[in-house]
């Protein structure tokens, strides 16, 4: 569809939105497009300036985060023995809630935009690291043998085989990173910046300014979507048939054998602790806010009040997990379920895929205030934020998994005129499984991010709220403890998902586990 034909559904959608907003005006939930437009028009200059700030922070974080992701992936392939430990460490840092890292970085760097940039980088590096690592390893054995057969070494293999092979994976990672960088910058601004869209969001939320909240979400979505589209153009220019992004599970973890991965995790955490303490000593950071691993240990174990500290932390973590768990499962189930359902109606899938891909470009967290507004500050709002955050990536992953069902297999089913349901269960579901699990793994840090941000912004419960209070009252021992505990919980959840993945895939899609 081109021209007016393409704009028509959009116009209809906006009209519907307007009608809905006007009909529900009393409940004060949906801002009408006209109201949003009015707000945009009257505050154009302010919003533009804020957008400029946020976009600039996001762009810098995007650059640094992607560079870090690429460097990490290169380090991992060049030191295969350290690869798993490096991967676990990278995952652990990625699982640390941004709403906790934000205030810590704020204290470290003072005013300015360093924390926003750092948070944008933190939100980005892992989703670049994983696909690039896969890409660097994706080349078949014979390509390396070709290089070796002519007497050339690992450097030639890196330059001639690994790097070009990783390029399309990098392009895909760079695209995913666009909304993530935007999101990181905005969360950075939530945690005490003086400028930017995130700061305006906070102000709008506090002032109960409905059109402003919506206007900011719309701007963030549009700009990030545009940048996402441009990054996609770049990706297609690099490789007309980009690979489906299926970051593999941490390599080498055998199904139903825990000892290896567990030992690696312990090693990785020890390395992380050393790094943590070492960096603080290196930069001579003051004990007052830069708590060492030993301080956290004392706070939670040996201190006189340790019991009380633990109880407070455990209670908050319990509340958070009670929100994150259902939201996580709901998001996964809805995403996979909708993908499966759409497969039975291929026409609909063709419509849903572009929509889902487009929505993946939206920094979902920007819509969190709107969602919380709509559903209230209780459990429903938080669970929904988590579920929405997970739903779209899962849907996209599962749809592309289905699209990768081997043509020959489908032809076989079709040649027997197999009914759609049988085709789905026997041919397409096995193709979904790897994509589903990859999405489920990546959804763990996403859920942590969503739930802590919602708690920080709005609900006043759970670990996110505990972090907000600790940061505000300079209770840094609690802030560091809460951060570490959340990271560990996320790592454990991720490990459980990876374990389930290995167990299921080794039975249903053995070829996916080989690498």
């Amino acid at each position: 569809m081109r021209g007016p034909g393409r704009a028509l559904p959009l116009l209809g959608l906006i009209l519907l939105w307007e009608v809905l907003a006007r009909a529900t005006a009393q409940s004060f939930v949906i801002a009408a497009p006209t109201a949003i437009a009015a707000h945009l028009a009257t505050h154009a200059e302010l919003l533009l300036r804020a957008l400029g700030t946020t976009a600039w922070n996001a762009a810098q974080g995007y650059l640094w985060g992607n560079l870090a992701g690429i460097a990490l992936a290169l380090a991992a392939v060049s030191a295969p023995r350290a690869e798993r430990i490096l991967s676990i460490l990278a995952l652990f840092v990625f699982c640390l809630p941004l709403v906790a890292t934000g205030p810590v970085l704020r204290v470290l760097s003072g005013p300015g935009n360093a924390p926003q940039v750092a948070l944008a980088a933190l939100a980005v590096y892992y989703t670049t690291f994983l696909p690039v690592l896969v890409g660097l390893r994706a080349a078949p054995q014979s390509w390396f043998e070709l290089v070796r057969s002519h007497g050339r070494g690992p450097l030639a293999a890196l330059w001639l085989v690994r790097l070009p092979a990783a390029l399309p994976y990098l392009a895909a990672g760079l695209q995913i990173a666009v909304p993530a960088a935007f999101l990181g910058a905005m969360v950075g601004e939530f945690t005490g910046a003086e400028r930017g869209l995130g700061m305006l969001t906070l102000r709008a939320l506090r002032g109960l300014d409905l059109p402003a909240t919506w206007a900011i979400a719309v701007i963030a979505a549009l700009v990030s979507g545009l940048a996402f589209h441009l990054a996609g153009r770049l990706a297609r220019w690099l490789d007309p048939a980009p690979p489906a992004l299926l970051p593999a599970a941490p390599a080498g973890a055998r199904p139903l054998r825990l000892a290896g991965p567990l030992a690696d995790t312990v090693l990785a955490l020890a390395a992380g602790g050393l790094l943590w303490a070492g960096l603080m000593e290196l930069f001579a950071l003051p004990d007052f806010f830069a708590k060492r691993p030993g301080d956290v240990w004392a706070f939670l174990v040996t201190d006189a009040q340790a019991g009380a500290h633990r109880a407070r932390l455990a209670a908050a973590l319990g509340q958070t997990l009670a929100m994150a768990g259902p939201g996580y499962l709901a998001g996964l189930a809805l995403g996979a379920g909708l993908a499966a359902g759409l497969t039975l109606r291929p026409g609909l899938a063709g419509l849903a895929m572009p929509l889902a891909v487009a929505l993946r470009a939206v920094p979902i967290i920007a819509t969190a205030p709107v969602l919380i507004w709509a559903l209230g500050r209780g459990a429903a709002g938080t669970v929904t934020v988590v579920a929405v955050m997970i739903f779209f990536p899962t849907l996209v992953a599962c749809l592309s998994g289905i699209a990768r069902t081997p043509r020959a297999v489908l032809d076989l089913f079709d040649s027997h005129a197999a009914p759609g349901l049988q085709r789905l269960l026997w041919a397409q579901l096995p193709a979904i499984l790897p994509a589903f699990f990859a999405a489920a793994r990546m959804a763990v840090p996403a859920a942590i991010l969503a739930v802590t941000t919602a708690e920080w912004l709005a609900t006043g419960r759970g670990i996110g709220a505990l972090m907000a209070v600790s940061a505000a009252t300079s209770d840094y021992a609690m802030l560091w403890s809460a951060t570490a505990a959340t990271g560990l919980a996320a790592l454990a959840a991720h490990g459980a998902v990876a374990w389930a993945e290995r167990a299921v895939l080794s039975r249903h899609a053995a070829e996916q586990v080989a690498r």
């Binding site: 014979s142 043998e145 057969s149 002519h150």
Partner: protein, 273 residues
């Protein structure tokens, strides 16, 4: 056994070298974990000659080639190419292998892949010679095509051109014509030998076609199922150049029959192994 050939023609522009040294295998075995792929193999392969390896699938032909390429070490025994190990020959860019799966880099065109063979072997760029090689394997007009756009047979031919571009002393061809159609195969069987003859290279060729083995080689080695032994060593004392008409002669048919008989007696007894 095989007569040495120093061909006078130099159509390809590759200059003749000193006669290539013999390859010597002594008690060579190779295991993969508990699987023994090669039984102890003792063998002398004549330098500058064409040796064909035939045998059932999975018997260890590719493994033997990779040993000769110095890509994997033998589990026991040793291999010498003249005075040096295959690994040393590999390191000084003295060999080239056309892999069973072609192993073309998908982001490079046919031309780019052929140029890669030259570059990997640390030879100076020579687009004209690359072009000639591409034409020789029948890919003229496809220079800018990517591997994904080529048929299986075309990919294998590009891989052969790439191996030739390295101007190797030892050329290892792993089922190079497996996916090539019958007519093209005939043409390549006629056009490739002059090329490696002038280069004076030692050629070791794995093939499933008995007639092709006899047509191209000076000697056919028949291998048994895993763990592979050399079950038969059949010389091919036919004059060169070998025209297509040769295949219709009684002598040719006799050698083919001998190879087939050796293959049959090397087959395992019926039933699962």
């Amino acid at each position: 056994m095989a007569e040495r050939r120093g061909g006078p023609s130099s159509a390809s522009g590759i200059t003749a070298r000193e006669a290539a040294p013999d390859i010597l295998l002594q008690g060579v075995t190779r295991d993969f974990g508990a699987v023994a792929a090669l039984a102890p193999i003792d063998l002398r392969i004549t330098g500058g000659a064409v040796t064909a390896l035939v045998g059932p699938s999975g018997c260890g032909k590719s493994t033997l080639l990779r040993l000769l390429a110095g890509l994997i070490p033998p589990s026991r025994g040793h291999i010498l190419v003249g005075a040096e190990t295959p690994d040393a020959l590999r390191r000084r860019a003295g060999l080239a292998m056309a892999f069973q799966d072609a192993a073309l880099l998908p982001w490079r065109s046919v031309r780019g892949n052929v140029a890669l063979g030259r570059a990997l072997a640390r030879r100076p760029r020579d687009p004209r010679a690359d072009e000639a090689l591409i034409g020789l394997v029948g890919l003229a007009g496809f220079e800018t095509w990517r591997p994904a756009e080529l048929s299986g047979g075309m990919r294998q031919r590009a891989a052969i051109a790439r191996a030739l571009a390295a101007a190797p002393e030892l050329l290892l061809l792993d089922e190079p014509f497996g996916a090539v159609d019958e007519l093209t195969r005939e043409r390549l069987n006629a056009e490739l030998p002059p090329l490696w003859e002038t280069a004076g290279a030692t050629v070791i060729l794995v093939t499933h076609s008995v007639t092709e083995a006899v047509r191209l080689s000076d000697r056919v080695l028949v291998m048994t199922p895993r763990p592979a032994r050399i079950a038969a060593d059949i010389p091919v004392p036919l004059p060169r150049p070998r025209a297509e008409a040769l295949a219709a002669t009684e002598r040719f048919a006799g050698i083919c029959a001998a190879v087939r008989a050796a293959l049959r007696s090397a087959e395992p007894a019926a039933g699962p192994r």
